[in-house]
Symmetry: C2
Subunit: 189 residues, 2 copies
Amino acid sequence: MKPESRKQEIVNAAAILFKEKGYSAVTMRDLATAMGIKAASLYNHIQSKQEILSTIIIELAEEFTTGMNLIVNSDQSAIRKLENIISLHIDVTLRNADGLASLNNDWMHLEEENLLSFEKMRNDYEENFRQIVRKGVDAKEIKSNNIEIIVFSTLSTLRTLYLWYPKQKNIDAGILKKDMIAVLLQGVV
Amino acid sequence: MKPESRKQEIVNAAAILFKEKGYSAVTMRDLATAMGIKAASLYNHIQSKQEILSTIIIELAEEFTTGMNLIVNSDQSAIRKLENIISLHIDVTLRNADGLASLNNDWMHLEEENLLSFEKMRNDYEENFRQIVRKGVDAKEIKSNNIEIIVFSTLSTLRTLYLWYPKQKNIDAGILKKDMIAVLLQGVV
DNA sequence: TTATCAAACTAACAATTGTTAGTTTTGTTC
DNA sequence: GAACAAAACTAACAATTGTTAGTTTGATAA
């Protein structure tokens, strides 16, 4: 066990609180109480409340961006790429479910460059996703229902994993991936 | 066009703001500015900020509860029931996409009885959903992947419709329902 | 012991929050 | 135009917000 830096401990505690009540509803005093210290003491380790949020979100966004780039540039079928995307989301969710709450619900409270860079990463991510599906349809690997609906429904599910996963007890990552791939790609009927 | 009550206008304006920034980050002065009046004037029409939130959420929750009860008690196949649930979500979303943002993201800021009654409605809703899927699996209508994953993935998509639908231009409700049913039930492969 | 440094503390600030009280404006009805 | 109600206003409040300044504590190294 490598000891976590005090800052990282604060960021982790904040992610849990942000998940429960949202960024705006969590006060620095709430966070300090959760850490067992006074609010002012937090500022020995972090620069601002905003810095906590951006630390949580940007790091996760970069993980997704890196993962997606690897997948997009790989030489695989569209279906395989979709499977890898599902796997990526599950991996990130298992590692940091709390932080994903902020990424999903509080990104709009980012400021300046962080907001812009987040929005760019998210748009690029979605565009990559869309392109994979499009190519899959062209290659007749994927049913040409409505491409936008496929992208939307798959991404909705993957983005909500952070809420659902913690409620499942002792679920194995490998089984989860297999089942999720089956449901999302082969359907339920 | 029936004239909306001033209170309803305020609630509608609030729903839009809550969607953009979340309940906690929207101040009564923000809302007043959006209405073109001063913050204090809002209180001629509403009792509190909290009342606005509960008006938005409880009404929607009751719509879902009513709709779900009709479907559960109907005499149809499990697949048909799932189709009707999809249809229900689309109908509610088309009618009040803004309010659904609060229902999805700000329900935890409800207080007292409203919080309890919301949580009960949501749990009952999910339990009904789960039971329909379970019966469908028993009747061999539905593939027995992982029931929890089916419930989760379908519900995730339906709950996120409020974000996606407004970005689609001039999409016909009937076509949307058909396509959504196809993707969610028959899959994409 | 002494010096050092991270990490806690107390005390306070200026700004913002939801809300109230009391008053004025606006528009409709007799 | 008098009367009335709806809906706006001004002014202020007590509480809470993120944050800063300066100080004390506690452990480690010299």
